[in-house]
């Protein structure tokens, strides 16, 4: 097999503390708004606006937020599937060492994408209906010139087995499979080049609950077996809490809070996180004492409010929030928050709301 050809660059011993596998520094992605015949740029949609985060090796970082908050765009920028407007994406590639994905040229990018891969939300739209499973799962291997012929076939069979599908299915087309099975196929394709890091973009939100549990378990098993690291983008907070060691919350293109899962859910420091926690529908009909229902709408990323983007909907708003943008800072070890009043506010987590 081909992994033997590559000897991972092992510079971990040089560091006392291991650097994060992935580190993003002030990532920005602005989409221009064009108008008129000459496509004059009249403004920008700030889909991702100054996002910084890190993912340690072997962990799962959950990325949550409402639709349109830029979580998918962040995921795509990490692989440079769309080119970021600015920012640094530092990735510890086992072959190439620490690289800034945003500055890589095409050939190196193909290289780095052996180690960072993506799985998608819609298991129906993300598989080409005219390709057999062998073509789909083998595609990255062929494109990256990792394997061909008999070796490729063996590798595909191995991948299918790993994700819980029978290798005999190799000659079939995606239409013969159910949603959950298709998601397994997508996973086999992503894992075929034996990557380190996986961006999972809402991988279970299109699935039924019983199938969702199967796929979540599979993701956890594969993580342990193959030493994978996940960035898990989702809007279902219970699922994110279940699978992630740490969780990052985005609001209108900005990172508002990042903390270890239990800390974030039990003692949130940002009012938006608190509102999110309170909105989680829970399979428990016991009435809750207190529930925060946000008023108003999510801010428009093309024309965001002044100061803190959340201030028009925030229950704890003060004058400073309307004019000055808060800084995203570490308030306790590993707990980052972007709020003027983070230190003084006593916010409720999921447990106090129950």
């Amino acid at each position: 097999m081909t992994e033997q050809m590559k000897i991972p660059v092992n510079n971990i011993n040089e560091h006392q503390t291991q650097p994060p596998l992935l580190e993003i520094k002030s990532l920005k992605k602005y989409f221009p708004i064009q108008q008129g015949f000459f496509k004059r740029v009249v403004g920008h949609v700030k889909a991702v606006d100054d996002v910084s985060l890190y993912v340690n090796e072997g962990e799962t970082l959950g990325l949550v937020g409402e639709s349109g908050c830029g979580k998918t765009t962040t995921g795509r920028c990490i692989l440079k599937a769309i080119t970021p407007s600015s920012g640094e994406i530092w990735f510890n590639d086992p072959d190439m060492g620490r690289v800034n994905v945003n500055e890589l040229e095409h050939e190196q990018l193909v290289q780095v994408r052996r180690n960072m891969r993506m799985i998608f939300q819609d298991p129906y739209a993300s598989l080409n209906p005219r390709m057999t499973l062998q073509d789909i799962v083998g595609a990255p291997l062929r494109a990256m010139k990792i394997a061909k012929g008999k070796e490729l076939e063996d590798r595909v069979a191995e991948m299918l087995r790993r994700v819980g599908l029978r290798p005999e299915y190799m000659r079939r087309y995606p239409h013969a499979f159910s949603g959950g099975q298709r998601q397994r196929i997508g996973l086999a394709r992503a894992l075929a080049p034996n990557p380190k890091f996986l961006v999972c973009d809402e991988p279970v939100s299109a699935l039924d609950v019983s199938v969702q549990a199967q796929i979540l378990n599979l993701l956890q098993e594969l993580q342990e077996e193959m030493g994978l690291t996940y960035l898990f983008v989702a809007h279902d907070l219970s699922v994110v809490a279940h699978i992630s060691e740490r969780v990052a919350v985005m609001y209108v293109g900005k990172m508002v809070e990042m903390a270890p899962t239990q800390e974030l859910f039990m003692t949130p420091k940002h009012p938006y996180t608190e509102a999110l926690m309170s909105a989680i529908p829970r399979p428990d009909p016991t009435p809750r004492e207190k529930r925060i229902i946000l008023t108003g709408e999510v801010a428009n990323p093309a024309n965001p409010p002044s100061g803190c983007y959340f201030h028009p909907r925030c229950a704890y708003v003060e004058d400073i929030c309307k004019t000055k943008e808060p800084v995203y800072e570490e308030i306790s070890p590993g707990h980052y928050v972007k709020c003027h009043r983070a230190a003084e506010l006593k916010l409720s987590g999921v447990m106090n709301l129950a």
């Binding site: 409402e66 639709s67 159910s178 949603g179 959950g180 039924d208 609950v209 019983s210 199938v211 969702q212 549990a213 199967q214 979540l216 378990n217 956890q220 809007h235 907070l237 219970s238 699922v239 809490a241 279940h242 699978i243 899962t261 239990q262 859910f265 039990m266 509102a275 999110l276 309170s278 909105a279 989680i280 529908p281 829970r282 399979p283 428990d284 009909p285 016991t286 529930r291 229902i293 946000l294 709408e297 999510v298 999921v350 447990m351 129950a354």
Partner: protein, 352 residues
């Protein structure tokens, strides 16, 4: 004649789809009762027949599908004797059209596609009002604005002239709800109305539906696959699997004392926040239901859940179809575990 607060009854409903691959029995013997001022939640995985049940009630089953057997009875308010037999009405008959959108109305899953993109929100709401109530256009517009503000849309007098694409997902879903409520329905069918929305917006919409139910005293049939949403909104719950109601009871009994193995398995397969918050170290695995939903063309002998059931009893479950058993008052279940009273089975708490 049933009790006064019953709005509609579904009795032994069978709806089949005649496809090239065979006959898909989407709804195979469903009994449901809808009451005034109460919410009946219907949960199940995709393909279990929950939406087809709702569509049957509205006579909106699309073409290869047909209501094959059973009765759908609608009791119009204000009359104690009148019964409308919906199952006998033609889908496009005058009588059916007089009920649909007027006394029974529906909110669909996808707020993007349930409104016409080329007409304003107001025009679409006014259309229903003018059709069902003899009012002038100006009067209809006033009512449209009124109903838009009832669903808590800000600046209703401005929103009335906007097009659906100018509104956000949550606002559009409010507008769709306004449209459904425009003729003061007695029964509102909500088919996954919040599935496409974010949690914070979902919380707003659920809150709104609860408030509107009190104001209008209407019955709601709420269809979803999300057990969390069911716990929030429903008074009673019916769990469907393969076209059958396998368990039905009030919401707290269902969550705290589920009887059917399928309900128990469903409840265990969703991540529980309490567990996550209490855990130390690496997260544990979720429990799964083995296998998957069988294809709808097959007729399984015995219980429909037997190939996946953890408490499968050979010779019984795969041979005899279980009947509906009322294990406790108002708690019915379709399972052989509860047939023999001698082997009285104490249901385990699914939240273990």
């Amino acid at each position: 004649m049933p009790a006064n607060n019953v709005i509609a009854e579904i009795k032994n409903l069978h709806t089949n789809f005649y496809l090239r691959e065979g006959v898909a029995r989407a709804v195979a013997g469903v009994n449901l009762t809808l009451e005034k001022g109460r919410t009946l939640g219907i949960v199940g995985e995709s393909g279990c027949g929950k939406s087809v049940t709702a569509h049957s009630l509205m006579q909106l089953v699309p073409s290869p599908g047909k209501i094959e057997e059973g009765e759908i009875l609608f009791y119009p308010p204000g009359s104690t004797t009148e019964v409308i037999e919906i199952h006998k009405l033609e889908p496009n008959s005058k009588e059916m059209r007089a009920i649909r959108g007027n006394q029974i109305s529906m909110v669909f899953q996808e707020p993007m596609t349930s409104m016409l993109p080329v007409r304003t929100v107001g025009a679409q709401i006014m259309e229903a009002i003018i059709l069902h109530q003899q009012v002038s256009k100006a009067e209809a517009r006033t009512r449209a604005i009124e109903i838009l503000s009832r669903v808590k849309l800000p600046n209703a007098d401005r929103i009335v002239d906007t097009y659906p694409f100018q509104l956000s997902g949550g606002m559009r879903q409010r507008a769709v709800i306004a449209m459904a409520l425009s003729c003061n329905p007695n029964l509102l069918i909500a088919d996954e109305p919040t599935t496409a929305l974010d949690v914070t917006t979902e919380a707003q919409i659920l809150d709104l539906l609860r408030a509107l139910q009190q104001d209008f005293d209407m019955g709601i049939m709420y269809i979803t696959h999300n057990l969390g949403v069911i716990a929030e909104i429903a008074d009673d719950v019916a769990v469907m699997y393969m076209g059958k109601v396998v368990e039905q009871t009030d919401t707290s009994s269902l969550f705290f004392k589920p009887l059917h193995p399928y309900t128990q398995a469903l409840l265990r397969s969703i991540p529980q926040l309490d567990d996550v918050m209490a855990r130390t170290g690496k997260n544990k695995r979720l429990e799964t239901i083995k296998g998957m939903v069988p294809d709808p063309y097959r007729i399984l002998p015995g219980c429909v859940f037997h190939p996946r059931c953890p408490q499968f009893m050979e010779g019984i479950c795969d041979q005899i179809a279980p009947e509906i058993i009322e294990v406790e008052p108002d708690h019915i279940v379709r399972c052989h575990l509860y047939t023999a009273p001698a082997e009285a089975h104490t249901a385990k708490d699914a939240r273990l």
